[in-house]
Structures are given as structure tokens and as C-alpha cells.
């Protein structure tokens, strides 16, 4: 199978046709750093998360699911703050030259999710090492509407989006080598960040927190 050089990998990811357009006045990949603008009155919300092979995922995961998940884990942090995600930097560590087919599938999963929330890839880094993916995401939220963990007080009602326990069950199945139902595996591999729920909860919830990791 064909493998990609670092330059080819960067070109493939940055030229991937199905990704959101970088807004005018923003600077995307290709320079030493990227830049963006933050609308007046908005706070810039920042989070970073790392996935490592054989720690956070097993080699069985599909490249598309891994692409999805590497972005989802960080978007989930922004969602917990009620932030609207806008951009991401992606630092990838590969054990060797990646196969072009792997990269194509990874990009599909990553950008399908990125497009859903209009998150633009502004830059990144590529290095040699154990397969791992670090996403550093940026979001915006009107200053008074951000959700914080530490605003919760005794007596507050507690709500959870979705249902809990699928990922834990998936890990148990793996450890016992039991069969993994598709619906459970998909919940584990491709968690859905609660971005829309976070946006809706602005001004309604008194606090918020990400439970997905």
C-alpha cells in the first residue's frame, strides 16, 4: 500500500475537500502559526486532549472512528462550557509513514464531525512515535453565558444528556473478550459531543460538566 511522507500527509489533511472553509482574515496551515479573530464581547474557550494507542483506544478501532473521536473528546470539553467550537489544531504522532488509505479514512471521520459543527483545522504538528492524537480546540461564548463547574450549589437539579455506561460496558466486554454489540461499540468509538445541548443550556443551566471521559 502507498505511504505518505510528512509533506504529503499535511497536504492531504489541509487540502481535504470536505472541510469547512477558513474564514477571511484568518490564517490557516502553512506558516509557523495560525491566526484567528475573536468577536468582541466573546470569551475564547480552550481545551486540549490526547488519545494514545493501547491506552485510550485499541488497534481494532477504525481510522474513521479514530478521526471522529480525536476531535469529539475535545469538542466535548467545549460543550461542557456552553461554547461554540470554531477551530482546532491537530498534533499527530505516527510510528512510521502512514498509509494513504488509513489517512483518507481518518480524515473522513475527523472532517465529517468538523463540518457538522463548522470547526476549521487551523494547523498542527506531525512527529514520529507511538500512534497518538492531540487536539487543541478553540471555541467562543458570550462572556456572561459560559457554564462553569464551580457554579453548582446544593439543591440544584442534576441532568444528564443521553444515557450513561456504554463506554464502560464496551471496555468490560473487551477485557472479557465478550462480543461487543455494534451499538455499544459505536458509542465507545464515536462519542457524540453535546455541542448543541451546551449551546441550548446557555443562560438556563447554572453549571455544566463533561462526563464523557
Amino acid at each position: 500500500m502507498a505511504t505518505l511522507s510528512e509533506a504529503q500527509l499535511i497536504e492531504y489533511l489541509t487540502q481535504f475537500e470536505a472541510q469547512p472553509r477558513i474564514p477571511p482574515l484568518w490564517l490557516g496551515p502553512g506558516d509557523d502559526a495560525a491566526w484567528m479573530t475573536v468577536p468582541q464581547g466573546q470569551r475564547l474557550v480552550l481545551s486540549i486532549d490526547t488519545l494514545i494507542e493501547n491506552v485510550h483506544f485499541t488497534p481494532q478501532i477504525t481510522p474513521a472512528a479514530l478521526g471522529h473521536r480525536s476531535l469529539a473528546v475535545s469538542l466535548s470539553d467545549l460543550a461542557a462550557m456552553g461554547a461554540d467550537p470554531v477551530s482546532v489544531l491537530l498534533a499527530i504522532t505516527f510510528p512510521g509513514a502512514p498509509e494513504s488509505e488509513w489517512v483518507a479514512e481518518f480524515a473522513k471521520g475527523f472532517f465529517r464531525l468538523a463540518r457538522r459543527y463548522e470547526v476549521v483545522l487551523l494547523g498542527g504538528n506531525i512527529a514520529r512515535g507511538v500512534l497518538s492524537l492531540t487536539t487543541s480546540v478553540q471555541g467562543i461564548v458570550p462572556a456572561p453565558k459560559a457554564l462553569r463547574r464551580d457554579r453548582v450549589v446544593p439543591g440544584d437539579l442534576l441532568y444528564v444528556t443521553g444515557t450513561l455506561g456504554a463506554s464502560g460496558y464496551a471496555v468490560q466486554c473487551m477485557q472479557r473478550r465478550a462480543q461487543l454489540p455494534d451499538v455499544i461499540r459505536n458509542r465507545w468509538w464515536m462519542p457524540e459531543p453535546r455541542v448543541l445541548e451546551g449551546l441550548r443550556l446557555r443562560g438556563l443551566a447554572s453549571a455544566g460538566m463533561d462526563l464523557s471521559d
Copy 2:
């Protein structure tokens, strides 16, 4: 030697006394994400860089030098854009529970550099794996004054800050098992990001680029 749990490590790094104060209205470590404000008329400049043991550094490096270098490599990218660095997220991967002495030295090197440029640690991530450090930095620059690589034109004069070749010479010495002069080793281990030079070159240079990696 005493080792630190993940919670203790986070507490140690975030409570480290010799670090710049987080500005009012900003949210530092402790929630799902951090937030900051970007002054009107300024662009937010973003970069990410990863250092991995036995790829970008050898086990001989001191923890203090590694702390310095993990921040310096990303600040160097901001400097190349003429940006003023303001904050950083740090994603660390450790093979096991880190020794408290190692962490103390790492923090000294990291925050000595952070303090010099008033860069605040806003958050991060900790995971198990081969020792590696990813820094995601944020800087600001007045929109028209940012330096870009692609603004260079034939006939431009070319300037370099400092002297070139120390890191390359250091790597050659290592490979030949030759003795490494202290001055060379320090240049390799603890590169000085050209932040002040980048700021001074705003409006003077037509383009800029980081040569340090």
C-alpha cells in the same frame, strides 16, 4: 523517591508559586476548559508543538531543560509571527507516576521561561505513555503587524537572529559520542525563543520564519 498521582501532579503544576498570575476574567485550570479574552483589534495567534523522548530529546536531558524546551519550541513559532505570547496549554504523557523531584525541576524550567514572557498556564492534559510534551500556545498581535512567511519577495534582505548550527553540532556530537561543550549543549537543550526580536520586527520586517526546528 516519592511519586505523584495525576491529581497531585496537576495540583503541583497549577499551584506552582513562581508562575504568572492568571488575569481577572480569565478561567484557568480546574474546569473542562479554560477561557481568556482577546483585546479588540488583535489577532489570536495559535501554534502547537510536540517533543517526544528519543525523537526530539534523549533521556540525558535535565527535567529543567525539558520544561524550558517544551515551552520554547512553541513560543518560537509565535515569535516568528511577531506575536506577543499570552498563554499555554500543556499535554504531558508520562510512562508512569512521575517522581516529585523530576516534576519540581521540570516546573522550574517551564515556569522560569513562562514568567519571562508572562505566559500563563491555562490548562492541559495528562496521560500514560512514552514521555512526551505537547504545548499549545496562544499569542496576540495587532492585525496589520503580524509577520507572515509568504510576504517575502525576491530582493528582500535576509536576517537571522543569533548564530546557526549549535543544535546540529550537538546532535552530531551525540551520534559520534564526542564530548559536548556546555555552551553547545545548552543551546540545544534550552533554545531561547526570539519573542522580543519578533515584537521589535513588527512593522519593520516584511516576513518572518522560525528556523529553530
